[in-house]
Structures are given as structure tokens and as C-alpha cells.
């Protein structure tokens, strides 16, 4: 009898298997349209738009909107979003923005200038996240129902500030931090939150009362799904089977492998993301400028672009990436040149090399690791030994911030990208003198450079051209003194299903897909 039970169970299991095979083909009818975007990690930690300063933006920019949006690839064209027009006072200290009428929040509340002003004020008062982008704004007030006025303590590039990728969202300021961080939202964006499952997916649903409307003929999506898939092979296959429409990030090898697939298009743009190899200017032998210059001549830039990035990057020129203002086309660019390196080593007192360096990078970052390996090879030719050490971000920073500069690494790798379209972060955070180490991992300090950067920041509200001149001047000095080797500026590669229409990668909003612009052919 016992054995009969075993048999029964076996048969039912068999039936179960057959059922599983047979059911997959039957799809439900009347399906809503949806677009699926794959992220490699859960972006949602800080739900409060005043606080978010990381990957949350890929979700938040679809639920919330900013006053303006900027298109750095289209000559920094300003696109109106919640504001339809704006004006600057002759003394550069007052800006007024006129808001669109009839804009509704997801809660049904109408957007007024007062709400917009209070939401920005809340972000500033909170002092968290990227709220510093508003530094220099003295007062924000609503002049009437749809005019908002900013009073500044010094001229600021306001158009760039109100279109920042972080901290510039307009949201409902009635709610508090607790309410937001419980996973709630109240924005004016085209999509509202349907549901969220930690580490699995964020489901966004179209907001019927969106001010931009949902014209029948545009075939915009009813739902936008942000799915979290950690395994890159799975991401690639999901794209191939059509389970995914667009993928946030993938190793370049995987992307190259997708090129032959006709169903997949690969978008490629120059990003703002640059890789830097910081040289410890306070520890021998790299406290010697000639040795640092020699290292700059020994980085095999061409090989790195060709073999590490498979051509999907360009060698950096200066600190600021080529598509951002503040970049100088005539700033010195080092090239691989072993003769020059040898000359400089001799000049610096190490004619035969003979020293050892420590190169630290974030463990798991294949690109930083490969750059290290190629660099190590090049250094070997001039008899310099280098240890490549992969470390967790924490321990890498801990070592880089050790109290005694002599205990720190010799070379460490860092990516930089901006919070808004302003090069100040690149120069100020990485090359301006610091009392306490923040991101200046070259521990570089030069009062001339400091002054140029400070002046550039101050003048940028009045004249971008003036600021650019000063930034370029600062970069000339930096390139001569080499507190860092400028490695490459990455291309953003994003593979997506070819039947997806309307996708445009905007590097000012890294990794954001504006789902409202998309439709399926």
C-alpha cells in the first residue's frame, strides 16, 4: 500500500511537469502595453526626492519632474518641462520662472508656484543629498499662482541648476521624510508608482491626468517596469528573448556580442564619466613632479581604449570631459612615449626605475583591473614594479584617507561624473586643496589652481565663457603637475530592442530612460 502511494505521487508529479510545459504558451488576452528596463541593482533606497543622490534617479525622473531639462548633446539646449518661460534680471541676481498651468500631482493636487517654491525650499532646508546645487540661492518665493522667483546672493547658472539630475525635483512638500521613505511618492511626472518589490522590480503606471496627455495615436506605454537583474548573462539573454526592452549596464564584451542581433540596436554616446588614476603627490617617489609626468607618459592609452573598452571610450584630454563646457581642446594630452618617460625618470633621480608602487582599485571593476594590468606591463619596461590590489570601496577609501600620506596607496582609481551640467565638481572635488581628504586622492594642493577654480565658480553665473577660460587655465597647470593621470572618457552603450521608438540617451541624467518618450513600433 505504501508503494502505491509512492506511485500515485510519482504520477501526479509527472502530470505536474506536463502541465508546466503546456501552460507557458497560453497568454492572457487584452494585455496592457509595457516597457521593461533592466537595472543591475535595486536603485531605490532614498525615496525622498529631497534626499536621493544615487541610482534612484532612474525611477524618480519618471515620477517627478524638474522645471527644465537640458540636452548636453544638443548644444546644451534647454527644454521646458514644468516651467514654460524664464527671465533673468540685468544684475544676474533675480530669476523668474513661469510655470505651466493645469499641472496635477498624482494625488490630484494642483501644482502652484507656492508648492514648487516650498518643495525646493524643503530640499534646501533638508540639507541632504545633492541639495548643495542650490548653494547661492538666498530666497525663493511665489509671486503669483504660477510665477516663482529666485533671489541669489551671487550670480548662478540657474538654468543648469533647475535642470539638475538630483535635488531639483518638484514634489509635494506637504509630506515628510518618513512618508516618502516608506516608499510613497507624489509627483507630477507621467508615471506614478504602482508597486515596488525590494530587489525585484519597480512597476510604474501611467498617470491619466498627466499634463502632457496620452494621445491615442502615440502608443505610449501603460506600464513601465524597472526590473533588477544582477547577473549580466541573464540580462543579455532577457534582451535577446524580448523579456527586456532596454538594459542599464552590461559588460562591453556582452554588448559587442549583441551587435550581430538584428532585433537589437545599440545606442552609443560620449558620457561624462571619466576614469582618473590619482597619484599620491605626498609620498615618494610620486611627490616628484617628473616621476608623475613619466608615469603619465607610460600609461598605454591606446591599448586601453582598444582592448579594455573595445573602442567604446576616448582618451581623456584634461579633467573635464569633451561634451561638457569647461573642456579645452588645446589642453595637454599625454601619449604613451617610453623615451620621454625615461628622460623624465632620469631628471627625477630614478634613471633606472627600481621602485615599487601600489595601485588600488575597486574589486570587481574589470575595467580598472585591466587598466592596472596594462599599466603594470608598461611600467615593467622601465623597471618599475607595481602591485595591483583590488579592494572593497570602503577599504580602498580607508587606505586613501589614512592619517599619514606615506601610509596611503601610490595610485588609486576613481570615476567622476557631474550632478548637474557644471564642471566645477570635476575640478573642485578632485583638485582643489582640502583640509580633510574627500575626493582629492592626489592630495594635490596648489594655491594658483585653487584660486582659478574659485574664480571660475564665482563667475560662472555671469559668463560661462569667462568661467571656461579659468577652468582651462587651471587644467593646464594640473596637466603639467600631474596629480592624476587622465585615462579615458567612457561611451555610454545601451542596447535596446529595435522595435522601441523614441529612445535617446541623455548623459545629463545618467541611465535615466524617460519612458514617456517611448513607444513600440
Amino acid at each position: 500500500m505504501k508503494m502505491n502511494m509512492v506511485k500515485t505521487i510519482m504520477i501526479s508529479l509527472l502530470f505536474f511537469c506536463m502541465l508546466a510545459v503546456s501552460v507557458y504558451s497560453s497568454a492572457p488576452n487584452a494585455t496592457p502595453t509595457m516597457v521593461t528596463y533592466i537595472a543591475y541593482a535595486d536603485p531605490m533606497v532614498f525615496w525622498d526626492p529631497a534626499e536621493s543622490w544615487a541610482a534612484e534617479l532612474i525611477v524618480l525622473h519618471n515620477m517627478y519632474e524638474t522645471l527644465l531639462r537640458i540636452d548636453p548633446l544638443g548644444n546644451n539646449k534647454i527644454m521646458p518641462v514644468l516651467a514654460e518661460s524664464w527671465e533673468e534680471s540685468p544684475d544676474h541676481l533675480k530669476w523668474t520662472f513661469t510655470l505651466k498651468k493645469g499641472v496635477k500631482f498624482h494625488s490630484g493636487k494642483e501644482l502652484t508656484a507656492d508648492i514648487a517654491a516650498r518643495s525646493i525650499q524643503r530640499t534646501i532646508d533638508n540639507g541632504k543629498g545633492a541639495s548643495y546645487v542650490w548653494d547661492g540661492v538666498k530666497e525663493i518665493k511665489a509671486l503669483d499662482n504660477n510665477t516663482i522667483e529666485f533671489t541669489l546672493s551671487r550670480p548662478l547658472p540657474m538654468l543648469y541648476i533647475v535642470s539638475s539630475s538630483y535635488a531639483a525635483y518638484i514634489y509635494n512638500p506637504e509630506y515628510d521624510n518618513d512618508w516618502y521613505n516608506k516608499g510613497n511618492e507624489d509627483g507630477t511626472g507621467p508615471y506614478k508608482l504602482n508597486s515596488y518589490k525590494k530587489d525585484s522590480e519597480v512597476i510604474l503606471q501611467k498617470f491619466d491626468d498627466y499634463w502632457g496627455g496620452w494621445p491615442e495615436d502615440t502608443m505610449k506605454f501603460d506600464y513601465a517596469i524597472i526590473k533588477i537583474v544582477t547577473e549580466s548573462v541573464t540580462r543579455r539573454q532577457m534582451l535577446m528573448t524580448g523579456e527586456a526592452d532596454i538594459v542599464e549596464q552590461m559588460p562591453v564584451e556582452d554588448i559587442e556580442a549583441l551587435r550581430s542581433d538584428k532585433n537589437i540596436t545599440i545606442s552609443k554616446i560620449t558620457s561624462f564619466q571619466q576614469l582618473y588614476a590619482f597619484l599620491n603627490t605626498q609620498k615618494p617617489p610620486l611627490d616628484n613632479k617628473y616621476i608623475r609626468q613619466a608615469l603619465s607618459y607610460l600609461m598605454p592609452y591606446e591599448d586601453i581604449v582598444k582592448h579594455v573598452m573595445l573602442g567604446n571610450a576616448t582618451q581623456s584630454r584634461g579633467v573635464v570631459p569633451p561634451t561638457l563646457w569647461g573642456h579645452g581642446e588645446d589642453v595637454l594630452q599625454y601619449n604613451y612615449n617610453i623615451e620621454k618617460a625615461n628622460e623624465l625618470l632620469t631628471k627625477g633621480g630614478y634613471p633606472n626605475g627600481g621602485f615599487k608602487l601600489l595601485y588600488t582599485y575597486t574589486a570587481g571593476d574589470k575595467n580598472e583591473q585591466k587598466v592596472g594590468e596594462l599599466f603594470k606591463d608598461a611600467l615593467k619596461k622601465v623597471n618599475i614594479d607595481m602591485e595591483i590590489r583590488g579592494m572593497t570601496v570602503d577599504s580602498k577609501y580607508n587606505l586613501a584617507k589614512a592619517p599619514n600620506p606615506k601610509d596611503r596607496q601610490d595610485i588609486t582609481m576613481l570615476y567622476w561624473w557631474p550632478d548637474n551640467l557644471d564642471p566645477s565638481g570635476y575640478l573642485f572635488s578632485q583638485f582643489h586643496s582640502e583640509e580633510k581628504v574627500g575626493f582629492n586622492f592626489g592630495y594635490y594642493s596648489n594655491s594658483d589652481v585653487d584660486k582659478l577654480i574659485d574664480d571660475a565658480i564665482n563667475v560662472s553665473g555671469v559668463s560661462i565663457d569667462e568661467a571656461t577660460k579659468k577652468y582651462i587655465e587651471a587644467q593646464r597647470i594640473i596637466m603639467d603637475e600631474c596629480p592624476a593621470i587622465m585615462v579615458y572618457c567612457e561611451d555610454y552603450l545601451r542596447p535596446y530592442r529595435s522595435n522601441l521608438k523614441g529612445y535617446k540617451d541623455n548623459p545629463a541624467y545618467p541611465n535615466v530612460v524617460f519612458f514617456y518618450d517611448l513607444s513600440r513600433e
Binding site: 508546466a20 501552460v23 497560453s26 509595457m34 533606497v45 532614498f46 540639507g127 539573454q237 528573448t241 577599504s395
Partner: protein
């Protein structure tokens, strides 16, 4: 017997205590900055300092440890550093998904492995037997993540039979949302009579289960075969055969009983192994289970989450071992020392 189980449970508590202590101190010696993670990469020093106080990191380690233990006894596992959510809630969401996967794999492995083993044994040294052995050894030796990827490439990308990853299609979630009753998806879809969801979930379970069951399946069929071969040489089997009892009955009624105990023990232990395997394959299948959760927590050095998962894993091991021991104890030939003789 009852006394024996009690004794084992008490030892279990000590093991858990030991595991918590070791994991706690290990995760605190690794150079890491939880306060920095708590506030995000770009926070100011003041925000970080506030976070240190909020998280209790300003206190000496032993105080952090005792307060962690105190909370743990109350069922409070602390708050995840990366997601800011209570670890207990995150575990509660993730555990059923993994348990369902492991349990189904073990059940399938048993009911498929047993007949394969029996058949191999009864056809000893035929081509089927050799092939069966080859297959068993192969599935035992293959790394699970490789099996997972191959299954995906063949059955999903290639043949399009099963979905690639996840536990349920998003579209089904939207059209036929699943009401949570027990937290176990298959069970919940059946309990709420949501057949669309049920069908969809089942199709998502196929590849992960195939992957996870490969090891216990190979093991079961190998063990069944070798034990059965031994048993079939016993006198009582020869006697049964001499009585003219049909071979099928001899095997399935008389011989198999001597196999079941061992197989059940082996399976209970390999359930523990399957649990470890989920740590790898859940990432491949984007499965919202405990393995995926641990993988992410380790990468982020999210120590409350790591300790939580470690506790769950050790608890599972203790229980599975206990089950294995109880199965052995059910054999009337086994006697406990305290039982008299």
C-alpha cells in the same frame, strides 16, 4: 527518543549562539564603513556622524554585540544598512521563495531518483545502467551555475519553452495579482484559486528546480543503486525469490524498505547543500529568495542582513540534521544509549 530530540535542540541553540557570535565579530572586523553606506556615498561628515549614533556604531563593540543579542531574542534582526528596512521583514519575504524551491527540488529528486536507481540496479551492467551511472556522476560533478546557464540557453533563449528568470511575469502580476496568504507562491496561487498566476509561476519554477535537483537526483539514483545491489544479495531476498514472488514485488515491497532510510537521510542532508546552491543560482535566475539576498548583502557588507541569513542557514542545517537523525532513529535496529541497553 523525546529526550534525545530535546538534547539535540539544546545543542542547536548553543550552535546558533556560536554562529551569531562568530558572524557578528567577523563582520565587524572587516574594514567597512556602515555609517557611510547608511547615508549614501555623497553625504557630509555631519550626516555620517549622525548615522554613527543612529546605528549605535559609536559604542564599543561588546555593547553593540549585547544589544544585538538582546534584540535578536525579541525577534528583531536589526535594520539593513543598504535598504533601511528591518531584516526580519526582508527575510520573511525571501525565505518562502527559497524554501519552496529547495523543497520541490528534493521531492522531485526523490521520486525520480529512486526509480532510476532501482532500474539501474535491476539491470546491473547493462547499457542503461552504465548510462545512468554516467549521467548521475555528471550531474553531481557539474557546477550548478553552469547547469543553470545551460538550461537557460537551451530551454529559454533557444527553445523558448520556459521564462528566463524571475518568479512570475510582470504582466500577470498586473492582470492577475497574487494575494499573499502563506508567502509560498505556488501554494498561494492555488489557495486563492488564481489559475493564471499558478500556471505562470509553475513555468518559472521549472528551470530553477531542474538546476537545483540535479545534485540530489544524481545522488539519490547512485545511492539507491548501490544499496539495492547489496540488499539484493541478502538471504531474505533470496528466500523471497525462492518462494516465487515476482521480481517487481521483491524489489518494491521487500528490498526497497532497506534503501528508503538511507536515501531519506541523504536527501535531508542534501537539502542543506541545495540551500547553499541557491546562493549561486538565485542570482542567475533573478530569484527573489534568500540566496540572492545573501549575495547582495555580502557584496555590500550589510552585516545585519548577513547575520540574519547565516542564522537562517544554520537553523536549517540544524533542523535538517535532526530530521536525518530522526529518520535513522526510526529504524528499530537503532537504539539510544539512554534507552536501556
Amino acid at each position: 527518543m523525546g529526550k534525545y530530540i530535546l538534547q539535540r535542540l539544546i545543542t542547536g541553540v548553543f550552535v546558533l549562539f556560536f554562529v551569531v557570535t562568530v558572524t557578528f565579530f567577523l563582520s565587524h572586523v572587516i574594514p567597512s564603513d556602515p555609517a557611510q553606506k547608511w547615508v549614501g556615498a555623497h553625504a557630509t561628515d555631519e550626516q555620517k556622524a549622525a548615522a554613527r549614533i543612529e546605528l549605535g556604531l559609536d559604542k564599543p563593540l561588546y555593547i553593540q554585540y549585547t544589544s544585538y543579542l538582546k534584540n535578536l531574542v525579541k525577534g528583531d534582526f536589526g535594520v539593513s544598512i543598504t535598504s533601511h528596512r528591518p531584516v526580519a521583514i526582508e527575510l520573511k519575504e525571501a525565505i518562502p521563495n527559497t524554501v519552496e524551491l529547495v523543497a520541490l527540488s528534493i521531492i522531485f529528486a526523490f521520486f525520480l531518483g529512486l526509480p532510476i536507481g532501482v532500474y539501474s540496479a535491476s539491470k546491473e551492467n547493462t547499457i542503461f545502467d552504465h548510462l545512468g551511472r554516467l549521467a548521475s556522476v555528471s550531474v553531481i560533478s557539474l557546477p550548478v551555475f553552469w547547469v543553470a546557464l545551460m538550461l537557460q540557453i537551451i530551454f529559454s533563449t533557444g527553445l523558448g519553452l520556459f521564462p528566463l528568470s524571475g518568479q512570475m511575469d510582470t504582466i500577470i502580476k498586473l492582470t492577475n495579482p497574487l494575494q499573499r496568504v502563506t508567502g509560498f507562491s505556488i501554494l498561494d496561487s492555488l489557495l486563492t484559486g488564481n489559475m493564471e498566476a499558478f500556471k505562470n509561476i509553475i513555468s518559472h519554477y521549472v528551470l530553477p528546480i531542474l538546476t537545483l535537483m540535479s545534485y540530489p537526483l544524481g545522488l539519490t539514483s547512485r545511492m539507491t543503486r548501490s544499496i539495492l545491489l547489496e540488499v539484493l544479495n541478502e538471504d531474505y531476498i533470496r528466500a523471497s525469490r525462492a518462494y516465487g514472488i515476482k521480481e517487481r514485488l521483491v524489489i518494491w515491497r521487500y528490498a526497497i524498505k532497506n534503501v528508503l532510510g538511507t536515501i531519506a537521510t541523504v536527501l535531508a542532508l542534501s537539502a542543506g547543500y541545495a540551500l547553499v546552491n541557491t546562493f549561486v543560482i538565485e542570482a542567475v535566475f533573478s530569484w527573489p529568495g534568500i540566496g540572492n539576498y545573501l549575495a547582495r548583502s555580502v557584496v555590500n557588507l550589510d552585516y545585519p542582513a548577513i547575520i540574519g541569513v547565516t542564522l537562517f542557514a544554520s537553523l536549517s542545517y540544524i533542523i535538517l540534521n535532526l530530521i536525518a537523525d530522526i529518520i535513522i532513529a526510526l529504524d528499530p535496529r537503532i537504539r539510544f544509549t539512554e534507552g536501556g541497553n
